[in-house]
Symmetry: C2
């Protein structure tokens, strides 16, 4: 096979990449749980499962089944065979990323395993896009997932314990989003990726795993600031600057932190964790979170706005809180990380 | 910054990538623990720590300190400033990759977090190389680590429990290897990366976490076979085909499995887990394992053979066993994954 791309990819500023040719989001799919289906975006998801076990025998099996099914649905919607997917880029929140390992094994596709906490959807899309930009793949699948029950067990308490959660706590989304990236225009593409700004770990020393929104704020502010600096852009360049899951508590934090640096994103800012649930009626505290939150909202809602040309371009900034139950129990802080992806409407 | 590379990267066969321009391993560093230092490769490592805590207060802090120090040493050896490293690609074996998160935060460098169990060294080098090949970075740092005590705690039993281990069990290496990849020839490069074959998850249904060598054999055989098919090469093309940590039990397995497919790698095969310890005197059972095993052996021993032109080229195939203590306790099998990297002597 010969290389088609002319590869005028560019390193921009300190930490950004501009792709010479656009990377096409040929198709995407989202599947969520019952509660997410009852939220404000409910009717936009491709599928709402009434069974939070997804036919599995454990919460981990449930999440694997969810991830597997979302990939399958994306392939079906795109009318693409799994054999045409050169590589997969996948991850989840569980220890040793077992939701992906056990969910994707049967696809028999070379796999890049990733971990960036709730920022992993951006991580997978970024690395998938870079691989296509290198001419090293023609089609890749980027998929992430999260599950409320497997995440509570992994990071906090078993559900059976019935612990109370403070209002600053976020609610892990049962959801998965899969994205088929391609080097070729299909005519039905949902959007194009034109640039990325991979982010740094930023640690302000916050230790409250029940307020992960604030833990992730410094990293989100850092990558948004660096992105705007690298490209010499103002927030107005984007229709929306969409963080992953800062929630109601973190939203004001990222706006404040950037305003201290002279940047006002208050008009453009949107947060997937805020959009996915109705705080007033769903008792979801600070809002949704998890690898599946930003991924499912991107597929169901954000790409829809680009597809219908309601928006021209967005900066998609999933945010991750870097902790494990071991690090938390050892009294370590919860550093954040966030990666930014520029997604534009197809012209 | 303008793009220097002419990007004639090629997709080869079903799952391989050939880089248009070589990716230079400009420098590397390895740091290991006391036991590894007493092994057959002892004098080749850059540093042997007499303190397995690496100045930390927990095994996790120890591993973070080890990873951080190995990156620092690599930068020093290369005489490169951290500001010149565009991105880091890192991972470890712990839940939510906390050794990397807490070890690398202070470097303030955009980070791609990866998880591929003990194959993560190949995962990091592969994605680092692809990113350079895309013209998306000029210099990247790829680093992985493992620690006997943090791994035993994460996957098996706390050391204090003093459980007995069967002879098929592998011994997690206390070690870290860091690799500085560059798009530019420095004149002192240790080797060049010319191609990669990212691998698939292969699950033969084996469930014994005390025999991870055999669990990883199918994935190792699969990626080696696909690599040779994709490039239409015979094993003799390589001076060595080096698996990560199949150990004494897995070595025969991978040779047998490939011989059933008509490929004899018995003359070229070498395993990092076998090389790093002396089975007869060190009581390390099946051999070394862990993210730091293949990484430290690549830096200390394999690259040395290429540097001195004793070997022309190797196929470096770190192998990973995909399990968590949750999946193991839920009775799930231990699927394997392996990624192959072609590393050649600089001409």
């Amino acid at each position: 096979m010969s290389q088609k791309r002319d590869n005028k990819n560019k390193m921009i500023g300190k930490q950004s990449i501009e792709f010479g040719d656009p990377i096409y989001i040929q198709c995407s799919a989202s599947i969520v749980g019952k509660k997410e289906g009852q939220g404000p975006l409910g009717e936009l998801f491709d599928k709402i499962s009434m069974d939070d076990m997804f036919g599995g025998n454990s919460w981990e099996e449930a999440e694997s089944a969810l991830q597997k099914e979302t990939v399958q649905l994306c392939l079906q919607k795109a009318n693409v065979q799994i054999e045409d997917i050169r590589y997969m880029f996948a991850g989840d929140l569980l220890g040793q990323s077992i939701a992906s390992s056990f969910g994707l094994a049967e696809y028999n596709t070379p796999l890049f395993g990733l971990y960036g906490a709730c920022s992993t959807s951006a991580l997978s899309i970024t690395l998938g896009a870079i691989t296509i930009a290198a001419g090293a793949a023609d089609k890749v699948m980027c998929v992430t997932s999260s599950h409320f029950a497997s995440a509570e067990k992994e990071f906090r308490f078993p559900l059976e314990y019935g612990n109370q959660r403070p209002l600053s706590a976020s609610w892990t989304v049962i959801g998965s989003g899969a994205f088929l990236l391609s080097d070729t225009k299909s005519g039905r593409d949902r959007g194009v990726i034109t640039a990325v700004t991979p982010g740094k770990i930023v640690d302000f020393g916050l230790k409250d795993s029940m307020n992960m929104g604030m833990c992730m704020v410094p990293a989100a502010a850092d990558v948004i600031w660096n992105h705007l600096q690298d490209f010499d852009r103002a927030p107005e360049y984007y229709d929306r600057i969409v963080t992953g899951d800062l929630g109601h508590v973190g939203k004001q934090g990222v706006i404040d932190l950037l305003s201290q640096k002279g940047i006002d994103i208050s008009k453009q800012h949107m947060d997937c964790g805020i959009e996915i649930f109705d705080q007033a009626t769903q008792d979801t505290h600070a809002g949704g979170s998890g690898c599946g939150c930003a991924a499912s909202v991107l597929s169901a809602y954000l790409l829809k706005q680009l597809e219908t040309h309601k928006w021209k371009r967005i900066l998609f900034v999933p945010t991750g809180a870097l902790l494990s139950k071991v690090s938390f129990n050892e009294g370590k802080p919860v550093p954040g990380i966030a990666h930014a992806v520029v997604i534009e409407a197809v012209r």
